[in-house]
């Protein structure tokens, strides 16, 4: 039981991070119906920028942790958002209205460019960081001395995710930006006829997705403390799996999918084998797609002939 609780906590933390990345995939897919293959690398860049900001804080002598975290968050989000914008501008906008495969290939190309750019600019070796937030609560102890830990950092990650989710739900449901996004999602041509600036809305979607990926990257930097240029790929695939699992195009679905993937991964590593945790995640994805092709919370796709 205690062991299970610990895995639950770990899984939820991991799942929150996946969920944040997954939202970027799901929003982009919702609006232009395409997979943003460079999103995983944007997340990696977010992690690197948060890490660099942390080092700058160290050099500037800022040691008060909340200020440090706030600076990391703001800087990483702003600078990573620029990358989200650039990916859209270079790989998607010129190809709007062409075949479906063209943006897919250009996005894969962008993904290769970004990861190799980081390898060149920051060096190929993994970057280890000392933990910023240590300690936590000990909430349970079993008879044989196993202590269930709930780290402060884990609380921060889950809380931040909940806050961001709430903010996003508000943004999509109530603000003009969210309205134009939903309009573009439903019918891009009609939305443009009614005065919605489609290009700008799509750009904003990419920027928002990149901002959330930056938050996820910062959390991973704090949580695991090792960044390398290739980290974006597998995290990206898993987050995408999460988005599909929850029903692509649906924001709560992405979060749910992220948490499920996180839990599956944590539980599988704990009870079965750590080597096959990725296989488990993909296996679940395949099963869900076969029996419920629209994902858990996705709307069924109505085909018009």
């Amino acid at each position: 039981m205690e062991y299970f609780t610990q895995q639950l906590i770990n899984g939820l933390t991991l799942g929150s991070i996946y969920g944040l990345i997954a939202i970027g995939y799901t929003m982009v897919y919702g609006i232009i119906g395409m997979v943003n293959f460079a999103h995983g690398d944007v997340y990696m860049i977010g992690a690197f920028q948060a890490m660099i900001m942390m080092l700058i804080c160290g050099v500037l002598g800022i040691s008060w942790v909340p200020l440090q975290l706030a600076l990391m968050l703001i800087v990483a989000v702003m600078f990573t958002a620029a990358y989200g914008w650039a990916v859209e501008r270079i790989a998607y906008r010129p190809l709007r209205g062409s075949t479906r495969l063209a943006p897919l290939i250009s996005a894969i190309g962008m993904s290769i460019v970004l990861s190799n750019f980081v390898q060149l600019a920051q060096g190929p070796r993994p970057k280890p960081l000392p933990p910023v937030i240590r300690g936590g609560f000990e909430i349970m102890e079993s008879d044989n001395g196993f202590i269930v830990q709930l780290g402060y950092l884990q609380i921060v990650i889950v809380l931040a995710t909940i806050v961001l989710m709430a903010a996003f739900a508000y943004l999509i449901a109530k603000t003009p930006l969210g309205r134009s996004q939903r309009a573009c999602e439903q019918d891009m041509k009609m939305a443009s006829l009614l005065g919605v600036n489609v290009d700008r809305t799509i750009s904003q979607t990419f920027v928002m997705g990149a901002a959330l990926a930056a938050v996820a990257g910062m959390m991973v930097t704090l949580y695991w403390g090792v960044n390398d240029f290739a980290m974006g790929f597998i995290a990206g695939i898993k987050a995408f799996t999460a988005a599909v699992l929850g029903g692509i195009g649906s924001l709560p679905g992405a979060m749910l999918g992220g948490i499920l993937i996180g839990l599956i991964e944590a539980m599988w590593s704990a009870y079965f084998s750590i080597e096959y945790k990725d296989v488990a995640a993909f296996g679940i994805l395949v099963l869900v797609l076969i029996f419920r092709p629209t994902g858990l919370l996705g709307r069924p796709e109505i085909e018009k002939v």
Partner: protein, 524 residues
């Protein structure tokens, strides 16, 4: 378009103000993209806390040069091409030329190997360049070249006048027929070159090696073309079947001692079987979902290869795979007692090249077989069903085509050719490991198919030569190789979104020209 910009220009601010505004925005973007990622180089060394060194000078040059280029482009857009032509031309000559000279002749270039720019001009006596790395200078030089090309195009357009819609359509038609004619000429030409090249004096080890690699990808591209180009199934895990083929041959050769020629059909059959097994549950999915599931399968196969230590050798892979034989005759300098080696059989001097050239011809023939099959399959009922399915699945269902079975055959066919290519890869390398079967490989093969122009066989060959050959040629760029690879992928896609040689027409038409109307009028 021309009249629109003209009227807009009258009401709107002058080119200069627009240029300044856009340059400012560009400078902002460059700053945002580069400040943290380039400005601070993190350095992690053993046992010490991580630190960084700053490279602000490079950013400053970037923020200076890129907006200047943007300004030139804006003026060019307003019909003033001179800044683009002169400024871009000079910048290209200086940056690219300087970089090339520095790389080629090892001239001491001020700024290289130092993080301060132009630190000591007189002392070094070399060329002062903005960036600390000649290749970055060269990249900026190429950017300047792009601006020059833009300027030239504007001049030409100004000379000929803007095209009307009909003219543009006619031009597109012409370029499409040209593409078709080009592929008609290019195909046989490439084929002849491919056959003759190893016999010419140019052929050396590295050239044959590169060509063999290219041909492997051509074959994979043609195989995937059946799945993606003909049947319209987006497969992002094609490398899984390649891996199955390679491991099949490796296991059969290492454990059972079978030779390549016995294993080749087995590897193909096994990969095809794998395709059916994987495809059966998932082929009901459409479009992107299928892409994701295939991607997932590709990764699963790789993870299993890494972790199933007892069978696949894990991350260390399988080594000591039997080398290629000339239909049973080995290419050994000193063959085992009782056997004859290739050079003895033909009374030749021993040379390593014999085996390499033979490998080259084997993959050439295998690729051509793939091509032949793909071309013939198109004309069979099953091929036509694939093409119909690609265009409209619902209509196919209404016409009584079983979509799952039809897709499954396409999947199995594609997988079979990947299996052949995989066992060839294993015999060529005589060592395989999961490293060789990453998602990147799938992405490269798919990129070859899409860049070539889906469904075009010659286009696939061209794209493979470009994408695989180019990084081989640019080996000297070492670190920048993959960066260039990704960038070329993006640029070709932007330049030709439909692929290099694109034509997507049914292989067999019932009535020329009437096909479109029929499809639109088909009952839902």
């Amino acid at each position: 378009m021309a009249t629109m910009t003209m009227t807009a220009a009258k009401a709107a601010p002058t080119p200069l103000t627009v240029a300044i505004k856009e340059a400012g925005m560009t400078a902002f973007v460059v700053f945002m993209l580069s400040f943290l990622m380039i400005g601070f180089e993190t350095q992690a060394s053993q046992g010490q806390p991580m630190g960084y060194v700053t490279r602000f000078a490079a950013i400053a040059w970037g923020i200076l040069l890129v907006p200047l280029g943007r300004m030139a482009l804006v003026f060019d857009r307003y019909g003033q091409s001179m800044p683009a032509l002169i400024g871009g031309g000079l910048a290209f000559l200086y940056l690219f030329g300087g970089a090339v000279i520095a790389l080629a002749f090892d001239v001491p270039v001020v700024g290289y190997n130092e993080h301060l720019i132009g630190s000591d001009l007189a002392a070094a006596g070399g060329i002062p360049m903005p960036f600390a790395d000649p290749i970055v200078d060269a990249i900026f030089g190429l950017g300047a070249l792009f601006i020059v090309i833009n300027g030239v195009q504007t001049l030409r357009r100004a000379a000929h006048g803007e095209l009307t819609l009909e003219q543009r359509e006619a031009k597109e038609d012409r370029s499409s027929t040209r593409a078709k004619r080009l592929s008609f000429i290019l195909g046989p030409t490439l084929l002849v070159i491919a056959f003759v090249l190893p016999m010419t004096p140019f052929s050396d080890r590295s050239l044959i090696g590169t060509l063999t690699l290219i041909l492997t990808y051509v074959m994979l591209g043609w195989g995937l073309n059946i799945v993606v180009g003909l049947a319209g199934l987006l497969d992002l895990g094609y490398v899984a079947f390649y891996a199955v083929g390679a491991y099949t041959y490796a296991k059969l050769s290492v454990d059972l001692g079978l030779n390549f020629w016995a294993c080749l059909p087995l590897a193909g059959a096994f990969a095809a079987f794998f395709g059916v097994v994987l495809g059966f549950p998932v082929l009901r999915l459409r479009g992107d979902y299928l892409a994701i599931v295939t991607l997932g399968f590709g990764e699963m196969v790789r993870i299993i290869l890494i972790n199933w230590q007892s069978f696949t050798g894990g991350p260390a892979g399988i080594g000591g795979i039997e080398k290629m034989t000339f239909f049973g005759v080995p290419f050994e300098k000193n063959p085992a007692a009782g056997t004859v080696s290739f050079h003895q059989l033909f009374g030749l001097e021993f040379s390593v090249m014999h085996r390499l050239v033979f490998l080259y011809y084997v993959i050439l023939v295998l690729a051509l077989v793939t091509n032949f099959f793909a071309l013939r399959l198109r004309r069979l009922p099953i091929g036509r069903a694939w093409e119909a399915l690609r265009e409209d699945e619902t209509a196919c269902r209404a016409l009584g085509i079983n979509p799952t079975n039809t897709k499954l055959t396409a999947f199995a066919m594609g997988a079979m050719f990947a299996g052949f290519a995989g066992s060839f890869f294993a015999v060529k390398q005589f060592f395989i490991s999961p490293e060789s079967f990453t998602f990147l490989e799938s992405a490269v093969i798919l990129a070859i198919v899409v860049l070539g122009g889906m469904g075009s066989q010659v286009g696939v060959a061209l794209a493979a030569i470009l994408l695989i050959g180019m990084p081989e040629v640019m080996r000297e760029l070492s670190l920048y190789r993959m960066l260039a690879f990704g960038a070329v992928m993006v640029l070709i896609m932007l330049w030709r979104p439909k692929g290099l040689l694109a034509h997507r027409e049914p292989t067999i038409l019932l009535h020329r020209g009437g096909a479109k109307k029929k499809k639109a009028g088909a009952p839902a």
